[in-house]
Every structure is written in C-alpha cells, then in structure tokens.
Symmetry: C2
Subunit: 323 residues, 2 copies
C-alpha cells in the first residue's frame, strides 16, 4: 500500500479507495465479494498515487475529477489482474489464492468484465480526449499481452522488442495515468508531456523490478512464488542477460528449459539459479535504475512543488520495492 | 444474418458492420484476426437491427448515432461470446472451433477485453444517460452470468428465478439496445418505455428459443452441438418442465445426470432424450410464443410506421429461428 509509503496524498488515496469500493457494489453479493477480494488484496496503489500527484503538481485545485479517473484506472488494473491470473495459471497473488482458484474460472472472468464495465462507466463521464487516452492505454495493454504471448519461448527476441512489449502492457498505463492527471489539473502542454514521460519511464522501471522479483523475490513478502515467467516462457531482460552472459553449459541448459517449457518445479528452480548466477539481477537492477533516473529527469521542467519531490520519491520506492 | 431476413435497414446494418470492422483494427494483427474471427462468424445481428429499427420507428432522422451505439453493443456482445465460450468450454461456435480452442485461452480472453474497450470507446461519446443504460446492461449481464453459475445443478430453482437470470443475461441487453435506439431517435417517454419492453420480451423469447435449440437444434444449422446446458448444469425452462412432468423413472434418471454432471456423451444424449420426451420443447415453445406476443403488443402505442411491422416480424423470426 502506498499508505505505508507516507505520501502527502493519503486522504486522496482514501477517496479513490472509497470510490472503487462503491463501484463494485452489486445486486449479486458474489460479484462484489470477488471484486473486493482482488481489490482488497491491496497492492501498492502506485498508479492512483501517480495520477493524483500529477494532478496536483501542475496546480490542480479540485481533486475530485482526478480521484474519479484514478479509481477508473485502478478498476481496469484490477480487472487485468483477475484475467492475467487466469492466463498465467498463477495460483497465488499477494499471499492468497488467486481469485480464479478460489472462485472458479467463470466467476473470475465475469468479475473482470464487471470491473471493466464499472471503470468505463466512470471514465465515460470525461471529455473525449481523456476517454481516448484511457481507452488507448487499455488497447495497448491488450496488444502487449497478445505480443508477449506470441513471443513466449522466443529466445531470439531482442531487448528492443522486450521494451516495446513492457511499454504496451505496463508503462503505457502508468503514462496514461500521469498524463490524464496532468491534463485534469490544467497543466501546460509541456507539463503534460513531461509527466507522461515520467509515467512511461516509471512504468518500465516498475516492470523490470517485477521481472527481478520473479527471480529473486521473497515469497513471504511478494505473496507469490517465484518463477512464473519461467513457467510461462516470458522473455525478460534477466533471461536475455543470462542467455547472453552465462557460461556455455548453463546457457544450453537454460535454453532447453525455456524452449520446451520446464518439466518440473526442480527445472523452474534450476532455471532461476542459472539466471541468478549470470549476474542478470544486478544488471537488470541497473537498467531499472536508469529508467527511474529518466523518470525523475522528466520532471526537470516542473516547478519546486512538494508533489514533485513525492513523484521522485515514488521512482525510488518503485526501484527498491521488495513486493 | 439479419441480411437474409430481408429487412429494410440492410444499408444501416452494413454501416454497423463497417464500424465494427474498423474498430477491431489493431497494431497487433493477431488481435484483429481473433476479433474478426468471432465477429465475422456472423450471427444474426438481431441486436443491431432492433436498435436501428427502434431509432427509426420513433422518427429518428440521422441514423449515424444509432449506428454507433449499435456497433458498440455488438462489440460488447462479441466480447461476451468470446468469454462465454471459455466459461462453457464450448468447443464449437457457429460451425467453427470456438476462438479459445483455435487461438488459446489467453489470446481469446485478451481479445474479449480488447473488444470491451473498443465498445466503450465508442459508447463514451454519448450522453451520460446513454452511457449509464449501456453500462448497466453490461453489469446486469455479468450479474446474470454469476447467478446462473451459482444456480447450476440446482434442481429446486424456480421458474421465476430462471426468468430473472435470463432477463439479466440476455433480455436486459435487448431492452437496452431498443431503449437507446428510441432515445437517440427522439422518442417520447412512452415510446421509449414501450420499445424497452419490446426488447425485454423479445430477449426472453430469444433465450427460451436458445435453450430449445440446445435440446433439439440441428447441429448442421446451429453450428454447435446440442447439450451444452446439460453439460454445464444450466437450469432451463425445458429442464424444469421435464423434472416436473416426465414419468417418475425418467425424472429420477435425469435428476441424477444433472445433479452429479453427465459422465459421458451418452448421458448427455440420454438427458436430452428424457427432456424431449417430456413435452418440454412444445411447452417451452409456447412460452417463448407468449413472450413474442407480448413483445409485439408492447408496440401497440406506436404509430403505423413501416419499422413497427419489421419489429413485429423480428419477434416472429426470433421465435421460429432454427439457428
């Protein structure tokens, strides 16, 4: 929870939380329960924080609109978590069984659709320009998922292609949240572009750290077992590094495991060991660090508002998060 | 295809088709391919026809807005088809493998989300009242799916409960399409309410006929095998009739198959035979006929516009459709 990150906007984040909770109210208690299960699991609420801070940092005064769009984006994010877990076969999420394991595939899938609908019901109240940006971010997200899936187990995938995919599936959403916050706050064109770039770089750093945690994360902190990228054949910076820099025997073994898919949990752990031993974690952390720096540099043209410091601090927190 | 039903609005339905096709354009060709696969499979386009005719029948003059909302609703409908097939494990749809069988669960799921997004991107351009009605119809749909799932294999489910569920998951969507068409066309409050009721009754008839086709449909015409309701334990009017009116031995056998789920295709066919032998098909067809009549009666207060006759004809076509 961002709450534990001690930001100045805890009141606004509570308003986002309240609106999200009100939005999932339904005549079917089970729908509300499943939606609440996913949303209540917390998460870092980093996306809403970025939107709210982007709003304030350009001088926004009446935060209600930013709260609404932040809630809409968080609802979309929750919908994609629900659907992603189904896709990945991920059985744990934030220390608890994934919703589709607890409630069944059909109920989880329908609840995702419900959350999408609720998000758009909020989003549709905004100007066409805002609608287009948020819809476009959702479309990119779908495109990123499709592309990642198409490139699964593709050991020849380039780093450039990796960056394209994570911008589609993760960073574009952060960028949209920052952009929309700045637009609603009445930012100048330059400010809006700067915050959008902040969001994009932050999102890239966020995803690289996610990929790192899938290799060396502490399950008791992340709430999910390591190795899902190995199981799914998702090509990450870490895997690319290990395939390019490990010793020859280890590389051949790793290639084999990824190409045909791991046959056992032992193979998953073996792949993780090979990746970790290749220096991929430090290398990827350095790359994430570069993007965090770029995120902060994107804020250069903004004034000395206190929210700017908080946005910079979020970049550090995203980089050093362990969950 | 409604085209084969020879309606006066074939030009408008082509415009809906064009907009739907343009909407699914994507940077990821696979996303467009899967979306096109589902949408291109045709279907009867009865929902768009109802929206367009409801628009014209109250005197609407500039059909472009009705075309847009009809396309948005058709995109939502296609998204739910994609997701429903995953839920039901339905392997065939309109004579071809279901998208999730052909393209994989993950790709089908993400394409459904993409279609939702595209639908809402169109829908968001409308007045809040229109947005609320369409979003509400989508929410009801999710609620109906959850409720149907919760009541699967519940042999004590009442007919009233069945009607609640099919209004949520099917008829509400028809009602929303008719209502929105009439609103955009500038209909009076009474006209809008009348067309909404028309849509609701038509949708109930449509769903009952769907349930009938799942028992006695000709696979070479419907494009999907019979018995999916038996496999899923979905309680329909036909099942309820058979459980209340069949001979005692057959009823006990049917109860057993539904309660524990069919163990084989032979059991599915046996359940179908028992249902068919109980007179459930004629009984359900009579019930669907009553709703088709009510749909037509809902149009009483409308003037003698030619579109009124077409709406009435659609009620007959829905009732007598064999696919």
């Amino acid at each position: 929870m961002m709450g534990s990150w001690d930001l100045s906007i805890s009141k606004e984040l509570s308003l986002v939380e309240d609106l999200v909770q009100r939005s999932i109210d339904s005549r079917e208690p089970l729908l509300t329960e499943i939606a609440g299960y996913v949303i209540g699991a917390g998460g870092k609420r980093v996306r809403p924080a970025v939107t709210i801070l982007s709003y304030y940092v350009v001088g926004g005064k009446d935060v209600d609109r930013a709260v609404q769009i932040a809630a809409a984006l968080e609802l979309v994010h929750s919908a994609t978590l629900l659907h992603d877990d189904i896709n990945d076969g991920g059985v744990m999420r934030r220390g608890r069984p994934a919703a589709f394991k607890k409630y069944g595939l059909q109920n989880a899938l329908v609840t995702g659709d419900f959350l999408f609908t609720k998000a758009f019901a909020i989003g549709a109240k905004f100007d066409p320009e805002i609608v287009d940006i948020t819809a476009e971010a959702c479309v990119r997200l779908a495109e990123g998922e499709i592309r990642q899936q198409a490139n699964a187990r593709d050991l020849s995938m380039s780093e450039k292609e990796y960056l394209v995919i994570i911008q589609q599936k993760t960073a574009g959403f952060f960028a949209a949240g920052a952009r929309v916050g700045a637009m609603l706050g009445g930012g100048s064109r330059e400010q809006i572009a700067a915050l959008s770039e902040y969001g994009r770089h932050l999102g890239i750093a966020f995803q690289i750290v996610d990929d790192i945690l899938d290799v060396v994360g502490d399950e008791s902190v992340t709430g999910k077992p390591v190795g899902s990228d190995i199981r799914e054949g998702t090509v990450t910076l870490l895997l690319q590094h290990a395939l390019n820099n490990g010793n020859a025997t280890a590389r051949t073994e790793l290639e084999g495991i990824i190409r045909r898919g791991p046959k056992s949990e032992e193979e998953v752990l073996r792949a993780i060991d090979i990746i970790a031993a290749s220096g991929a974690v430090d290398e990827s952390r350095a790359r994430a660090g570069e993007y965090a720096v770029r995120a902060k540099e994107s804020l250069d043209l903004l004034g000395p508002e206190p929210q700017k410091l908080e946005l910079m601090r979020i970049a550090d927190l995203v980089l050093h998060r362990d969950a």
